[in-house]
Subunit: 343 residues, 2 copies
DNA sequence: CTGAAAGCGCTTACAG
DNA sequence: CTGAAAGCGCTTACAG
């Protein structure tokens, strides 16, 4: 059993090997392994048996070369430490599996605009690229356009031509949260965004601000947590350390809201929500943990991924489809981290 | 600029296209794109320029076919919702990038022993497969052996021949935690493991029990949280709901410890650590959050991944290398969730 | 240094 | 239904 063609680096069986053993042509082997090709029952049986005995499985790289599509999609992901993106990865993997596709993963430091690693994305001749928590650079978008590879962004937007995006109800959520907090009797509002440059953050802020201002609140404080734990903590210390500290903070992600909550309660000894209300965004699983019990606006990873894949398919079929900006429905999830409306 | 060879599905440029434009042979183009081949400065320059103007990047699938290695490693991962595994993914991605390799991702429901999706793992003719939080099935191991693909498990073990594994100091950690808890004056111990079948969990339990028994504590309670949030919560309710509830619980992962802590404090109103001490395992970033402030035993994702890749390389060079079981150093991280030794 | 040619392991018309 | 042959886009001896 230990005899190998070569003592090390034994090759795995190919269609040729299977054909030889089964006594059929290599094309016949190929046909039995590609769905919907005409093979007689008899030869199929012989092939299957030979394949099993050799432990054969078709070389998908070779197939990719021949068919010109790889069934793999590149996922470029920014903040894996944020449970929301972990969910996106999981959802994407599971939903893709249903159509026999797989993920080639690229983690990206979203701050560094280092696109060298992005070159590899295109070199693998993936069927599509999905960006989650990462904004498409114009270079990547251009390259994808040239080679006709669909690109869709999840939870990020850009003005780039040809880049579709899928996101939550950012503006509406901002308004809804403002409405809720006003009804809760808050008077001093703050917003902690991801980055200054993030369209997603600023859209949430716009909705938040618009509703606040239309109700006479013009004193909105803003800070940025850079989508990190420590950044959000710093922003929280800044905001809550002021004389005129906010009594309600809307954070652009649950992940940042957790850090803000920790600073408020554990570091500054403030009671949440009695002294300060905290509202997040995403509704990640941890938001419902009893420790945080976070009021938040939901944005379902499953739905975002589903919409992204649908758009991806559309673009694959017709690459000239106009880019779309798709908004996925969410809702305010009321828990204990923000004061309830006064009746 | 919008004229394409075909209105949809334009192919990306190949070496042939570049060669034509640069006025050299296709081999020359190939050489300038593979490191360490002899090309004159002049032709390299022409090639580079032609390539740029065509937006050419070498087709890695074709290269994989020709060279018989893809530079991609399959990562099969079990519990992405657990921040520890999210870290593993990130570390693996970053460390792999240094050697120009990439990850083909497979998420696996670790409970279902559904290996159908595993077939794809091998079909892509990856250079290696890494299993994190997933135990190699004998079928997968056998297939990998046959085709000479290195397999290494992270944070999981198995008796399977040819499957190497990398893990933390499971036994030693169990002992150390027992020692620490005894010194803290605890008398009633419990352990919450992943699953009954998990070797990693049972090794931690063994170390824990051994040290406890050698100090006269024979009343160790055990339960399993199945590596999920809700499972751990259930286990916690079970243990803490008894008349003779434990005053110290060692959880086999931080992720489960968080759920246990939530149940203890928020649901049952117990004070941690005054009424019950909780100790985790992994030292994920969240463990240091002020909300949990979890005492735990560290197991560095970076180190685990580093060791796994080293073993992977060894196996790639010499496939007949004996399987190894590698233990990565960790230490007790003392925070506030467990009572300190009494002086 | 350079090019022609064979080969990596598949798929897919094309005849039969 | 079946097989021979060309082709997918690369790499790699082999001559020159």
């Amino acid at each position: 059993m230990t005899e190998n063609p070569k003592s090390s680096g034994q090759r795995s069986a190919t269609e040729k090997d299977v054909a030889l053993l089964a006594g059929v042509s290599q094309s016949a082997v190929s046909r039995t392994f590609s769905a919907g090709k005409s093979v007689s029952k008899a030869t199929r049986a012989k092939v299957i048996q030979a394949a099993e005995s050799l432990g054969f499985s078709p070389n998908l790289m070779a197939r990719a070369l021949a068919t010109r599509h790889s069934n793999i999609v590149a996922l470029v992901i920014g903040h894996l430490e944020n449970p929301f993106y972990a969910q996106v990865v999981k959802q994407l993997s599971e939903q893709l599996r249903k159509s026999g596709k797989h993920i080639l993963l690229f983690t990206s430091d979203p701050d560094s605009h280092d696109n060298t690693s992005m070159d590899a994305v295109l070199s693998y001749k993936v069927d599509a690229v999905i960006l989650a928590g990462v904004t498409a650079t114009s270079k990547l978008a251009e390259k994808c356009k040239v080679s006709g590879v669909p690109v869709v962004q999840i939870n990020r937007e850009s003005k780039l031509a040809g880049v579709s995006s899928v996101r939550g109800e950012n503006f509406k959520a901002g308004e809804r949260i403002a409405q809720f907090l006003i009804a809760g009797g808050h008077t001093n509002f703050a917003f902690i965004g991801g980055t200054e440059a993030s369209t997603v953050s600023s859209t949430r802020l716009d909705g938040f601000r618009k509703h606040l201002e239309s109700h006479g609140f013009h004193n909105l404080m803003t800070a940025y947590g850079y989508n990190t734990n420590s950044g959000a903590a710093t922003a929280a210390r800044l905001l809550l350390g002021q004389d005129d500290r906010p009594d309600a903070i809307f954070c652009a992600s649950d992940y940042m809201a957790f850090a803000v909550s920790d600073v408020a309660r554990r570091e500054l000894g403030l009671r949440v929500p009695e002294q300060v209300s905290i509202v997040g965004f995403d509704d990640v699983p941890e938001a419902s943990s009893l420790s945080y019990d976070l009021t938040t606006y939901s944005q379902s990873a499953a739905s975002l991924v589903e919409a992204a894949l649908k758009q991806m398919d559309t673009l694959s079929i017709n690459p000239s489809t106009r880019q779309r900006r798709i908004e996925v429905h969410g809702e305010l999830i009321i828990r204990g981290s923000a004061r309830l409306p006064i009746l």
